[in-house]
């Protein structure tokens, strides 16, 4: 058990810190949350800088420990989030890297790394949420083209995306998991309608995507026809692995800000509140250690994070909601004011136990895959 950096890790950390300190003060101001074109430009601009400095592919080819240092240091320094680059860097990109042909990798990966193209994820549908394999969007083969008709739901960043990693049903007769195919869909193809959906936080984070006889070249298929389920599972475990690790660092910072605010307004004198914050402090410390534990395990088994990612995702998403509930206690009446710092965050945190596999689904994964309990329905 060793928590200290290896010489290589230490060097990476120091170099990254120095670079962040040099580059962050020169960044343009953050765009308002609802200005999507500006957000896209801002997020891509940041990725572009990372690329020029040699950090673009840290999520892909660095060791898990280096990846973790990257997430930790960028968060500590207050660097921008992956934002609109999320799907490209953490889902579609790794999938293409693992399953794509040399030609596909050459076409799609460099623009993701350079911060030139935005990807979105078209998996969920009105009738296929937790039960993703129930998806119905149809793709009919016509020569070297797939003709796609159906609709996708909750597609984050769809409005500003260049590409969509799309799951379609190519064989309706086959058993559910065996008739699915993974396609890269250019978002400017005729026949696509994007209807933004407002979230409970008031912003348009995601959208409904309607597909009407949309023509996608067969060359845009990653993996074999009808093998899309297996291809997809590679990306999903990425999502639950280290994707949220940086946010644990952010939560720890929020907690110290909360403590300071509570001392400022006198609520710190209430032992119940103090102890609650103490408990949350312990929680986020432990979650950080759990990330380190999982990352070390992934480093030795060489693979993608597995069910251990579910353990983390489940615990983290609830802890984050409790954090903002505690913030509301610190704020008092101000917790109802959307202009106060943590009010919107509290609303946003409500999605954490739903997106990327609901808490109930994570419980099921843990019960079946780690504890060996019979499959329940």
């Amino acid at each position: 058990m060793d928590l200290s950096d290896t010489p290589e890790e230490e060097e990476f950390r120091a170099r990254l810190r120095a670079w962040l300190a040099a580059v962050l003060p020169g960044l343009p101001p953050k765009p308002p949350p609802d200005d999507w074109p500006a957000r896209r430009a801002y997020d891509l601009g940041w990725q572009h800088r990372l690329h020029d400095a040699g950090y673009a592919g840290v999520h892909w080819d660095a060791s898990p420990a280096i990846r973790l240092i990257f997430l930790e240091e960028t968060e500590k320094a207050g660097a921008p989030y992956v934002g609109a680059n999320f799907v490209g860097l953490l889902h579609a990109g790794p999938t293409i890297a693992a399953e794509g042909t040399a030609e596909q990798r050459a076409r799609w990966l460099p623009p993701i790394l350079r911060g030139e193209e935005v990807w979105c994820q078209g998996f969920s549908e009105p009738e296929a949420g937790s039960d993703l394999a129930a998806l119905r969007t149809r793709a009919r083969r016509e020569g070297d083209t797939y003709v796609v008709t159906g609709s996708k739901l909750w597609t984050s960043h769809a409005e500003v995306a260049d590409w969509c990693e799309l799951l379609v049903r190519t064989d309706p007769e086959a058993p559910r998991h065996r008739g699915i195919t993974w396609l890269a869909l250019p978002m400017d193809t005729p026949g696509i309608t994007v209807r933004p959906l407002r979230t409970l936080a008031g912003s348009a984070e995601f959208a409904e995507v309607f597909l009407d006889e949309v023509r996608v070249p067969v060359a845009n298929r990653v993996g074999d026809e009808n093998d899309g389920w297996r291809v997809t599972m590679v990306t999903l475990s990425f999502e639950r692995g280290t994707a949220f690790a940086g946010e644990v660092v952010a939560c720890r910072r929020v907690l110290t800000e909360l403590a300071a605010a509570a001392r400022g307004n006198g609520r710190w004198d209430d032992p119940a509140l103090r102890r609650r914050l103490g408990r949350l402090g312990a929680e986020f410390r432990a979650l950080w250690r759990l990330v380190q534990w999982n990352v070390s395990a992934a480093g030795t088994s060489g693979g993608v994070p597995g069910a251990g990612g579910s353990v983390f995702k489940l615990r983290y998403s609830h802890a984050r909601q409790e954090l903002y509930d505690a913030a509301a206690d610190v704020l008092g009446d101000d917790c109802l004011d959307l202009d106060r710092p943590w009010t919107l965050d509290r609303l946003s945190s409500l999605s954490y136990t739903i997106a990327a596999g609901t808490s109930q689904i994570q419980h099921g994964i843990i019960a079946e895959r780690i504890l060996g309990l019979p499959k329940g329905r």
């Binding site: 058990m1 060793d2 928590l3 200290s4 950096d5 290896t6 890790e9 420990a65 973790l68 907690l255 110290t256 909360l258 403590a259 300071a260 001392r263 710190w268 032992p271 103090r274 102890r275 914050l277 103490g278 408990r279 402090g281 312990a282 929680e283 410390r285 432990a286 979650l287 250690r289 759990l290 380190q292 534990w293 990352v295 070390s296 395990a297 480093g299 030795t300 251990g308 353990v311 489940l314 615990r315 109930q360 994570q362 419980h363 099921g364 843990i366 019960a367 079946e368 780690i370 504890l371 060996g372 309990l373 019979p374 499959k375 329940g376």
Partner: protein
């Protein structure tokens, strides 16, 4: 960073588990329950020989020269096995009290207002004058109350007591999760294993999540030795053990409410341990105070 068990640590854990299974299996546990409340001296010496008490002493003084991570691993095993006796106090007395390191002397200490195993111990550290026995909730941990019960700031450093206790709690948490999952796979109702019901499966998954999160916290605290890490680890480990044991009881149904089943013993021991080293409240205050540390 390589935050996982080394080969040697794995071997130590496995050897400890085998040793405890040999000397303190199910029958020995039952015998301890039915017999008088005194530590089994032969077992205590076997532990001494295996280095359970002396492992952190330097080799020149008869120890193994190992650190807190190794100590935490063996205490986790002790917790799993429900091993009775003032194990933490004796381990911490090794090198300071004659015979503690070898398991020949059973050492207890005054912890806040309570002393475990007072009558059976050879040596008591701290002021136990006026101690009166109480009818202990845990049949395998005799307890005395001491009137002097010093205020927290006068007490000696409880960091190691808290850490090793958290390791025992972690052992309990892991064990009750296993017991619950075993029962959920084997017990059938409505024509299928009860573990096929989500309400049961999700209870078990929750136990696993708490255990694994606590494990990361306890092991990391053993590596850093940092007092805030230790306080945090105890909060996670206490929760994993106590809630785990309760949920394990729930999964066992009526069987879980019997004296016969081992489940209640885990819960009762976990409750005893929550009182050690200043209790949960004090640990919460330690972590809370740290949140303000940078802003003073």
């Amino acid at each position: 960073m390589r935050f996982g068990l080394t080969e040697d640590q794995r071997a130590l854990r496995d050897a400890t588990r085998r040793l405890l299974a040999r000397h303190f299996g199910g029958q020995a546990l039952r015998a301890a329950l039915d017999g008088p409340a005194r530590p089994d001296r032969a077992l205590w010496r076997a532990l001494g020989e295996a280095g359970f008490f002396s492992l952190r002493l330097p080799e020149a003084r008869g120890g193994a020269g190992l650190g807190l991570p190794e100590a935490v691993l063996v205490f986790e095993e002790a917790g799993r096995a429900l091993l009775p006796g003032p194990l933490v106090a004796t381990h911490l007395a090794a090198g300071a009290v004659a015979g503690a390191a070898t398991g020949e002397a059973v050492v207890t200490d005054v912890d806040g207002g309570l002393v475990e195993w007072l009558a059976a111990a050879d040596v008591v550290r701290g002021d136990a004058t006026g101690a009166v026995p109480l009818r202990s909730l845990d049949p395998l941990t005799p307890l005395h109350r001491v009137p002097s019960g010093r205020p927290a700031h006068e007490r000696r450093d409880v960091r190691l007591t808290v850490l090793l206790t958290a390791a025992e709690q972690l052992g309990t948490a892991g064990r009750v999760c296993e017991l619950a999952a075993q029962h959920a796979r084997a017990r059938e109702q409505f024509g299928r294993p009860v573990g096929a019901f989500q309400a049961v499966a999700h209870l078990c998954a929750g136990m696993l999540v708490r255990t694994e999160t606590a494990r990361a916290a306890v092991y990391a605290a053993a590596v850093t030795g940092d007092p805030v890490d230790v306080a945090a680890a105890r909060l996670l480990a206490d929760e994993a053990a106590v809630r785990g044991a309760r949920d394990c009881l729930q999964v066992h149904g009526g069987m879980g409410f019997t004296w016969e089943s081992e489940v209640h013993l885990h819960l009762k021991r976990a409750w005893v341990r929550t009182r050690r080293g200043g209790g949960v409240t004090e640990s919460e205050e330690v972590v809370a105070a740290d949140l303000l540390a940078g802003t003073a």
